[in-house]
């Protein structure tokens, strides 16, 4: 079975070509909570730095990430916490 983090990484890299991508599996912290049992999906968080976010609102950035994840949002992911920065924003952090 392919690691879920690797599946997520592949999707995001294909669509967003991130300069920096850090994905964390937080599932252990949420094990046993109702949503996890019902969906079988894990909790993940990601820091994504991509030029694809330039000129986009927070909502549009998240929509872009969700679109890249596609069906993984139904099969593998219950919650995906997103920090999305443009390269310039990330430099200024």
């Amino acid at each position: 079975m392919i690691d879920r983090v690797e599946k997520i990484r592949t999707r995001l890299e294909e669509v967003l070509a991130p300069l920096h991508l850090q994905i964390t599996d937080d599932s252990a912290a949420h094990a046993g909570h109702a949503g996890v049992i019902a969906s079988g999906g894990g909790h993940f968080s990601a820091l994504i730095v991509s030029a694809a976010f330039e000129g986009k609102s927070a909502v549009q950035r998240h929509q872009l990430v969700y679109r890249a994840l596609g069906d993984l949002m139904r099969t593998d992911i219950h919650a995906f916490s997103i920090k999305a920065f443009t390269p310039l924003e990330y430099q200024q952090l």
Binding site: H30, A34, G35, V59, H62, Q63, Y66, R67, F80
Partner: protein
């Protein structure tokens, strides 16, 4: 009524509406619970829909908004975001402004 028309009607009728898992009293997911806490902290008056009670609306709202997770907060019919964006806007003090403009406190006469 068609489910999309129902969504549009809810968004039109409520300047601030939260689609969530569970209710504000009994949120059934930590992210929905966090969204409620943020709204309460802002002193916002808001409507909510428990999406577990309406599976058809739940699936169609995801498509309508291009947003596959809950909670989802809408102000004046526009998607503001999920709990991450809410927290981010709250920490910047922007959510308070958005909510105050959307549902100003009642003016005493």
């Amino acid at each position: 009524m068609d489910v999309i028309d129902r969504i549009k009607q809810q968004l039109a009728e409520h300047p601030v509406i939260l689609y969530m898992k569970g209710s504000p009293e009994f949120p059934q997911c930590g992210f929905s619970g966090r969204a409620v806490q943020i709204l309460e902290h802002c002193g916002a008056s808001y409507a909510y829909v428990n999406i577990f009670e309406d599976p058809e609306l739940r699936e169609n709202l995801k498509l309508y908004s291009n947003w596959p997770t809950f909670p989802q907060l809408y102000v004046n019919g526009e998607l503001v975001g999920g709990s991450d964006i809410m927290m981010d806007l709250f920490q910047k003090g922007e959510l308070q402004k958005i909510l105050a403009e959307a549902s100003p406190p009642p003016v005493s006469q």
